[in-house]
């Protein structure tokens, strides 16, 4: 992306340790910048701190040192400018699927009627139109995750933070959802930080893929390819191997 | 680090608050703002405790006598209930027919407030020890029974299936799978039952005796000794806590593999 515009998200020398200050840090001096409307994928082994970093960007967890800026302003807390899809199910179990999505839409400032319409649209988008009346407990794990995505989209945030959102989905639905996400992203233009542990998923989605390791960003890979991308594209395969080697 | 700090802060705040309350209580009493009969100040209560321990109330019946009488009654009623409820609960829980046959009766018997039986047991068995023991046993029994039944009935079927795949004979499935799996729930029942015992005993001791903490607190009030009443209440509370802790320790001892006590109580 172009270098001269101000980045949408800036992660500046962010470190994080849990518990005593002497304990080994989960993150140490992470730097990352995401341009407006950029799609950045965070890749890394389990436990390397992806969720932690995302939580810090969201403002849910304060960094031990360093800071995160959005539009040049320091992040001090969460807010609806930054929507988030959580790794665990975070739907409100006391609301039906539709009401969950509506909740997000209402938070974005819409009137009841409009919120309802948006909720319908988004449920349709994630393929759950008939399931609007169901409660989260009555949906499968993958369906719940799709509702959660719809809820985050209903918020219509400028920044969308997604923590392994497709982790619970089967391969087929996962591919469908990837395509849908790209469609939404290209039509609504959002800055997306997308955590995944699938190299291929990262390569199908991201403008850039940031590989995490050793408490920081180990390497960043540009995926200069138009979408939709093909898994058998030689350039994609080359990047895949490159990242794979780097992770070992 | 920060967690430790906030825990210390919590304890300090809590202890400080209680201390402040006690001091305020004492001072307002000294100033005559609180009537000493309605709210005997801490110093008066301490005096009452001392008197209760040394001279007794009524004169000669000392605090240990009261506490022991109460404990003995709770204990005998509780044990009686256990002895009856555990085998019958296992039997009912293991048989679907028995379970369905007894379900409404047990539900109703549980709904009968134990203390409402007080006048009946007095008519039948007088105001002596037997009546009190039976009342406590009644309260404990139904709580215990329904927990034992549920424990046996709701054993995770996967466990049983797993045992089947290992060719475990039926009798062994019962003794080695069903019973151990039901134990946490049985323990939970025992703890609830003990709570019921403490609740019932006070009511039971309000009639026909001068021994026991329930009798003590009522007697003390009629003699305008609310300080002694409060000492008795505190003792009941302490005994309840000690028993609850004891049961928990016992459970940890006997069921080392079972950590989540709270998971089974629903």
């Amino acid at each position: 992306m172009t270098g001269n515009a101000m980045p949408k998200i800036e992660v500046l020398r962010v470190s994080k340790h849990f518990g005593a200050a002497s304990s080994a840090p989960v993150l140490s001096g992470v730097d990352l910048a995401c341009a407006e409307n950029e799609f950045v994928c965070l890749l890394g082994r389990s436990g390397c701190g992806k969720t932690t970093l995302l939580n810090i960007i969201a403002g849910l967890v304060p960094p031990s040192s360093g800071e995160v800026r959005v539009d040049g302003e320091r992040v001090t807390g969460p807010g609806r400018g930054k929507g988030m899809v959580f790794q665990q199910n975070a739907l409100f179990p006391w609301l039906s699927a539709r009401s969950n999505v509506e909740f997000g839409a209402r938070r974005s400032g819409l009137e009841k009627q409009a919120a309802r319409r948006i909720a319908e649209e988004l449920l349709e988008l994630v393929g759950l139109r008939e399931y609007g009346e169901r409660y989260p407990g009555q949906l499968s794990g993958g369906m719940q995750q799709r509702v959660a995505i719809a809820r985050a989209l209903a918020l219509d945030p400028q920044i969308l933070l997604m923590d392994e959102p497709f982790g619970a989905l089967d391969e087929i639905t996962r591919l469908d959802m990837q395509a849908e996400l790209l469609r939404v992203w290209s039509s609504r233009r959002k800055t997306v930080v997308f955590v995944t542990h699938s190299i291929m998923e990262a390569l199908m989605l991201g403008d850039r893929v940031a590989v995490m390791g050793g408490g920081g960003i180990a390497s960043i890979h540009d995926v200069a390819k138009d979408r939709p991308r093909s898994r058998s594209d030689p350039a994609v395969i080359r990047l895949h191997d490159e990242i794979w080697q780097g992770l070992h | 680090m920060r967690d430790d700090l906030s825990r210390h802060a919590a304890v300090l705040q809590g202890a400080g608050f209680i201390l402040a309350l006690l001091v305020a209580w004492e001072i307002t009493s000294a100033l005559g703002w609180l009537r000493p009969h309605s709210f005997p100040p801490p110093s008066r209560i301490a005096q009452g405790a001392w008197e209760l321990a040394v001279r007794g109330f009524p004169e000669g019946v000392r605090v240990w006598t009261h506490a022991l009488a109460t404990l003995r009654r709770i204990f005998s009623g509780f044990v009686l209930a256990m002895v009856l409820a555990i085998p019958s609960g296992i039997l009912i829980g293991a048989s679907q027919t028995l379970d369905r046959l007894t379900h409404p009766v047990i539900t109703f018997a549980r709904s009968v407030a134990t203390l409402s039986l007080l006048p009946l047991v007095i008519v039948w068995f007088g105001t002596g020890e037997l009546s009190k023991t039976l009342l406590i046993a009644y309260g404990c029994f139904w709580v215990m029974l329904s927990n034992v039944i549920a424990g046996v009935k709701y054993v995770d079927p996967t466990l049983i299936r797993a045992a089947r795949t290992m060719d475990t004979p039926g009798s062994e499935i019962f003794t080695r799978i069903v019973l151990p799996a039901a134990l946490p729930r049985i323990f939970a029942g025992a703890r609830t039952a003990l709570g019921v015992g403490f609740m019932v005993i006070v009511g039971a001791e309000m009639i026909g005796t001068i021994e026991g903490l329930g009798a003590l607190i009522m007697e003390a009030r009629t003699f305008y000794r609310t300080d002694v009443t409060i000492v008795g209440m505190m003792l009941l509370g302490v005994m309840g806590v000690v028993f609850a802790i004891g049961m928990e320790a016992l459970e940890r001892r006997l069921l080392p593999w079972h950590r989540g006590l709270s998971e089974v109580r629903r």
Partner: protein, 257 residues
């Protein structure tokens, strides 16, 4: 036959067996029928001595006392627990006080209730209040401290904070625990009723049966016991229905897992 009908039939059979056994023992002459009357007989005589309108009056009074005490206890219990769970300092201050008072059985407060409130209605309501207050409080508090942090975070990412987060996320997430507390509290309120009505009452089911003991009317006592049990059963069932309605469907679905 469908399993539900079979359940009902077998259950009815169980009740009949108990009644028949009772009838047989009572008629066998082992004990005098005036002390151990057969069930139907007891009901008939009991109703003759305390006619239906009188009985209804006692039930009504008792239910009123329970309703007052329970509502006050439940309301205060929820408010304190929600505030204590949400506002840390308040929680730190109140929790130890509550933990000190909680183990004292509600009935043990009767003498002090008489000292504070006299022999009238307030002291009875106070004891019932205590019966409901502590279970509601502890269950609500437990629910507040066990809220899934992810739910709160989800709320935060949607721009909720402060009291809004409390009302829109924390309290709804605690509702199942509040409901559990309410049911336990209702049961305990019933449990202490009779003892509460021992406090110089002139009416109510507890008074009715204690008075009957003085008159030696065993039939009235038995009738009273059965009515108390039935009233508890019916109202608990109603409460469960109301709560289920109020929680919506989601609670069953999460419990089933």
């Amino acid at each position: 036959m469908n399993p539900r009908a079979a359940d009902a039939l077998l259950g009815l059979g169980g009740i009949l067996i108990v009644l028949a056994g009772w009838e047989l023992v009572a008629r066998s002459g082992v004990v005098s029928q005036s002390v151990f009357p057969p069930p139907i007989h007891a009901m008939v005589i009991g109703l003759r001595k305390v006619p239906l309108p009188d009985l209804g009056g006692h039930v009504w009074i008792s239910l009123q006392r329970i309703a007052f005490g329970f509502s006050a206890g439940a309301l205060l219990g929820v408010v304190i627990a929600v505030a204590g769970g949400w506002y840390r300092v308040f929680g730190n201050l109140v929790r130890p006080v509550v933990e000190m008072l909680r183990p004292i059985p509600p009935l043990a407060w009767i003498p002090m209730a008489i000292v504070w409130f006299g022999l009238g209605e307030p002291s009875k309501v106070f004891v019932i209040f205590l019966g409901a207050f502590f279970p509601v409080l502890t269950n609500t508090w437990k629910g507040m401290s066990n809220i899934d942090a992810t739910l709160l975070r989800a709320g935060q990412t949607m721009g909720l904070s402060g009291p809004e987060l409390l009302i829109k996320v924390a309290i709804p997430a605690t509702l199942p625990d509040i409901a559990t507390g309410l049911r336990i509290g209702w049961g305990l309120a019933f449990g202490v009723l009779v003892a509460a009505e021992l406090i110089a009452a002139e009416s109510g089911l507890g008074y009715m049966i204690m008075h009957a003991r003085q008159l030696g009317e065993v039939e009235v006592i038995i009738l009273g016991i059965l009515v108390i049990g039935a009233a508890n059963l019916v109202t608990d069932w109603l409460l469960a229905r109301v709560l289920a309605n109020w929680l919506g469907k989601w609670q069953d679905t999460t419990r089933a897992e």
